[in-house]
Symmetry: C2
């Protein structure tokens, strides 16, 4: 009985890790759609979000099933509640990837990102991807050392967003209001994806160490 219970718990965690892979793929495709004005890539991310939503529902139902049947206590209880929150983080990252894809689709056949900011967006996408990967590793291994790198990546994201704003609002900005508005929102989407990765990692760090990190 106890073994079966442990297996169910482990399955929830491994499904969460699998879901991070789907989210990373969605974000990568959305970024490609954005930078290459690839509307079919954008459509793939938008329609593919259904699968991420379904994964959320499945993991939620499994977590509720364990909660209701096994009445777990202490650590397991908190882990299950953390899973319910992490799955919500992941669904939200999927939604934010859809937002990125929708900007690509809205501006197609033009490119939404002026040349001068392509490298910044690439770097934001790379940083967000690394943050999701680090969060997945922490969920999979409960090795909280990766959390420190994740916080450093969060600082990188912050710097990237500030440097983007300096360009948008600087005297040299020659692309006008529309791309500036798009990029302000895009910067926000990538930043929020990173925030959700930090949030996932902090939930595990709290469970493992008992230290309550600052709220994200």
């Amino acid at each position: 009985m106890r073994d079966q219970y442990q297996q169910q718990l482990d399955r929830v965690l491994s499904e969460l890790v699998e879901m991070t892979g789907d989210v990373r793929a969605a974000l990568s495709t959305a970024t490609q759609a954005l930078l290459e004005a690839d509307v079919s890539a954008a459509e793939a991310v938008i329609s593919g979000d259904l699968a991420i939503d379904e994964a959320r529902e499945r993991i939620e139902e499994e977590s509720f099933d364990i909660l209701a049947r096994q009445a777990p206590v202490a650590g397991d209880l908190r882990m299950l509640v953390a899973s319910l929150r992490m799955v919500a983080d992941l669904e939200r990252m999927g939604d934010l990837s859809v937002h990125v894809a929708k900007v690509a689709r809205l501006r197609y056949p033009s490119k939404a990102v002026p040349d001068v900011l392509i490298a910044t967006i690439q770097q934001m996408a790379k940083t967000a991807d690394e943050m999701i990967a680090a969060a997945a590793e922490i969920v999979a291994t409960h090795d909280v050392r990766a959390a420190r790198e994740l916080e450093a990546a969060d600082d990188d994201m912050d710097h990237l967003r500030r440097s983007m704003f300096r360009m948008l609002l600087g005297d040299d900005w020659a692309d006008g209001v529309e791309p500036a508005v798009d990029l302000a929102l895009l910067g926000r989407y990538y930043e929020r994806i990173g925030d959700h990765a930090v949030s996932m990692a902090r939930r595990i760090v709290f469970l493992v160490t008992g230290q309550h990190p600052a709220a994200v």
Copy 2:
């Protein structure tokens, strides 16, 4: 024993409702700070967010306490997990109010919102406030009829945001890039506050009716 348990559950819900009042106050003060370039109002929202974060922690701990001690099943279990999510929605609405206040502080002593968009921001703030109030009513009464009004208010918010974008990106926009970027982000913050209110309401609707509304 059962009575005490029911009292604990009721207390969690009434504290959630109380927290909606704090969030409404934060949003109202943040909007005033924004429209009147009132930096002390902005500072009050920013420093006051700590109390909202503390309310979240308190309600979370109470919910965990009930989960661990009483091992609730079925409806009560789902209500407690829903409470843990609603409290996260509320904390996030507080954070978004802080974002609004920070725009006010960043542009002080100037006003971040050009005259031509003051009415739109007022309307967005009013709509968001009504949405939080409706969500609170649904949490307090479990009367899901208010959910329909809430979905209508969500449509209003969507229209407001679209009309704002038409102005920002229209030929008549004479205020340049910086206010356009501020307003694009402000529109997003108000919209997300509304989304979280819808999300809270849908959790209760699901518990009461068993109907899974579309994910927010």
